[in-house]
């Protein structure tokens, strides 16, 4: 490698001591001070497949307005699924914890939302802004409750089984069963309605071709929140020191501790944030379904694991692309061949794994 030669044969430059001015005043933050440095190439293929699916769906569906309606619905569904799965992908990708109990935080978030929105419905009345505020209040409370329970879940259930995948699966599934029963004790075993407030009902209609494309208001909000979560996760993980510590801690926990950082405290925080995101996803999924049952978490768990497996077992970008593929595929096949839609996600997972057995964006340390 050229750098080896550089290191070995370059004449030793003058060695300024700490406190002396930098040699030549050259800033050290450029790649090689103008020298050619090979860069890692971004893998565009999964994104091209996503784009290809959207483009190919147009001739298959025929009507541009139906295509746009389904595409918007699929993207919104995919982003809701991403929010739900993002917590698990954080916990699995960064902490290597297989949390099969993730669903209980989804259910918890959804049930907390029924209480908060039910409690605020009288206050919100017909006021659109207040209704909007009640949705965000429900999301905030659901995240806080799910995050706090997640913190306790990590300390009591997960901590003793770090590094033991089989035990993680067993104990977190047990935790989910217990959690579901507690939810039944608090909210009852029956389905509870979680209607969208009036301000989020209905759709905007865009004239396209021979008809109108319907873009539902709630799906637009869900898509905005999903994109916000993706952007926030990307920013924190790539551009902050906390993100660096998390990424480094996954690779070599001992070395991070040797540098003077408390990794355990950091990982408890990651688990709590992952649980809070599940709570947020639960609210969004509940509003999407407009009803909540204690089994909602277990039902969504299957979808989440498909997304995470497609994505590359712990990759945030993979989870994002995988969720969008799942959302779009479900909507397109639901329109074109409803019976096929029943196993479209499984088919998608099989196709992706045949192409890339490690998933779309494999996590390198796994």
């Amino acid at each position: 490698m050229s750098a080896n030669t550089t290191a070995a044969t370059s004449p030793a430059p003058g060695r300024p001591k700490p406190g002396e001015p930098p040699a030549g005043g050259r800033p050290p933050y450029s790649a090689g001070g103008g020298q050619q440095v090979p860069k890692a190439e971004f893998d565009w293929k999964p994104l091209l497949i996503l784009l290809g699916l959207i483009v190919l769906a147009l001739p298959a569906i025929g009507s541009p307005s139906s295509w746009l309606t389904l595409t918007a619905a699929g993207i919104a569904m995919g982003l809701i699924v991403f929010v739900i799965a993002s917590g698990l992908t954080l916990v699995f990708g960064l902490m290597d914890v297989l949390n099969f109990g993730h669903g209980v935080f989804i259910a918890l978030g959804a049930f907390v939302a029924t209480s908060v929105m039910g409690g605020l419905s009288g206050w919100a009345g017909d006021n659109g802004a207040a209704q909007f505020a009640s949705v965000f209040a429900a999301m905030a409370v659901a995240m806080a409750v799910a995050g706090a329970i997640g913190w306790a879940f990590e300390r009591i259930i997960v901590r003793p089984v770090y590094g033991l995948h089989l035990k993680q699966i067993l104990i977190t599934m047990g935790g989910m069963i217990v959690g579901e029963e507690i939810i039944k004790v608090i909210w009852g075993p029956l389905q509870i309605a979680l209607p969208l407030p009036d301000v989020l009902r209905g759709a905007w209609y865009l004239p396209l071709g021979n008809g109108d494309a319907a873009i539902e208001k709630y799906r637009v909000l869900a898509a905005v929140i999903g994109l916000g979560v993706f952007a926030a996760m990307g920013h924190v993980l790539a551009r902050t020191k906390v993100g660096l510590l998390i990424r480094a801690g996954v690779q070599d926990r001992e070395m991070v501790e040797s540098l003077g950082y408390r990794v355990r405290r950091l990982f408890v925080g990651v688990f709590a944030v992952g649980s809070a995101l599940a709570g947020l996803g639960g609210v969004m999924w509940g509003l999407y379904q407009q009803s909540v049952t204690p089994q909602i978490g277990a039902q969504v768990n299957v979808l989440i694991f498909i997304v995470i497996i497609i994505g590359g077992l712990g990759s945030t970008l993979g989870c994002f692309v995988g969720a969008l593929l799942v959302g779009l595929m479900a909507n397109y096949t639901g329109f074109l061949a409803p019976k096929v839609a029943l196993f479209s996600n499984i088919g998608l997972m099989v196709a992706v794994l045949l192409w890339r057995p490690q998933g779309l964006y494999p996590v390198t340390n796994r």
Partner: protein, 245 residues
């Protein structure tokens, strides 16, 4: 000999059911380079890991600047001012060289808060790190990774640096770079405890030496004396410096 900055007295370490260190005693004088030598499996790496709290002391005491470290966790020990370069280098391969350095500098929240003058000083020893500043550390060569590992340990002033076999598997020219860097640190009175199998490197750097065998320190003294006494080398290490020249 100057005042010891680090003292190990009667240190025993168990790893699971295995009793690895059997009462290790030695001191590291401040401002000097102390070599920790010994055959493979003598307990050198375990000693460094025990000092860092990565293995717990089961009996005995480790005192740094007069304070016992045995009850402290690894992060707290690092905060006392001890830097550690492990045998496997501990490089975060998915992160760039810059990100590795930002993590090593506890006082910096991002690259712009790194001490530029100190970085320039480090780049003086290891110019490859400047060249590959934005490059994933996992793509560096073995020698460059070792340079990064050492650079991380010295990117902020530390009272003591523990380094485990930095020359392992490296080309002689890269080893020479490391020797130059360590000599510069030594000139600045940085205290270093260096585990090394390369006797030539040990001879070039060491002020004092502790030789381990079977989990115990079997010899302590000046490095110069050991370097000059081939029969002692033969007895303690199974080699003679003359045979390696």
């Amino acid at each position: 000999m100057s005042t010891p900055i680090l003292e190990l007295s009667g240190v025993h370490t168990h790893i699971g059911a295995y009793h690895i260190l059997h009462g290790v005693d030695f001191a590291v004088p401040a401002g000097e380079v102390t070599m920790l030598l010994g055959r493979n499996g003598a307990g050198k790496t375990t000693t460094l890991r025990t000092i860092m709290g990565l293995w717990r002391v089961s009996q005995g005491d480790v005192r740094f600047q007069g304070q016992s470290l045995t009850a402290l966790g690894t992060p707290e020990i690092a905060h006392q001012g001890i830097a550690y370069v492990p045998e496997n280098m501990g490089i975060f391969t998915d992160l760039t060289v810059k990100e590795n350095m930002v993590l090593a500098a506890r006082s910096a929240r991002n690259a712009s808060e790194l001490d530029t003058q100190r970085l320039e000083w480090i780049f003086g020893f290891f110019p490859a790190l400047r060249k590959f500043w934005l490059y994933p550390a996992g793509k560096l060569s073995g020698g460059q990774k070792q340079m990064l590992a050492v650079a991380r340990a010295i990117c902020e002033p530390r009272a003591l640096i523990l380094i485990d076999e930095p020359s392992k598997g490296l080309a002689p020219s890269i080893i020479q770079n490391l020797v130059t860097a360590f000599n510069e640190l030594k000139r600045q009175k940085t205290t270093i405890l260096l585990v090394e199998q390369n006797f030539m490197m040990a001879k070039a750097l060491g002020d004092s030496v502790a030789v381990m065998d079977d989990g115990r320190v079997v010899h302590r003294g000046a490095m110069r004396e050991l370097a000059e006494d081939e029969s002692l080398q033969q007895r303690l290490l199974g080699l003679s410096l003359g045979a390696h020249q």
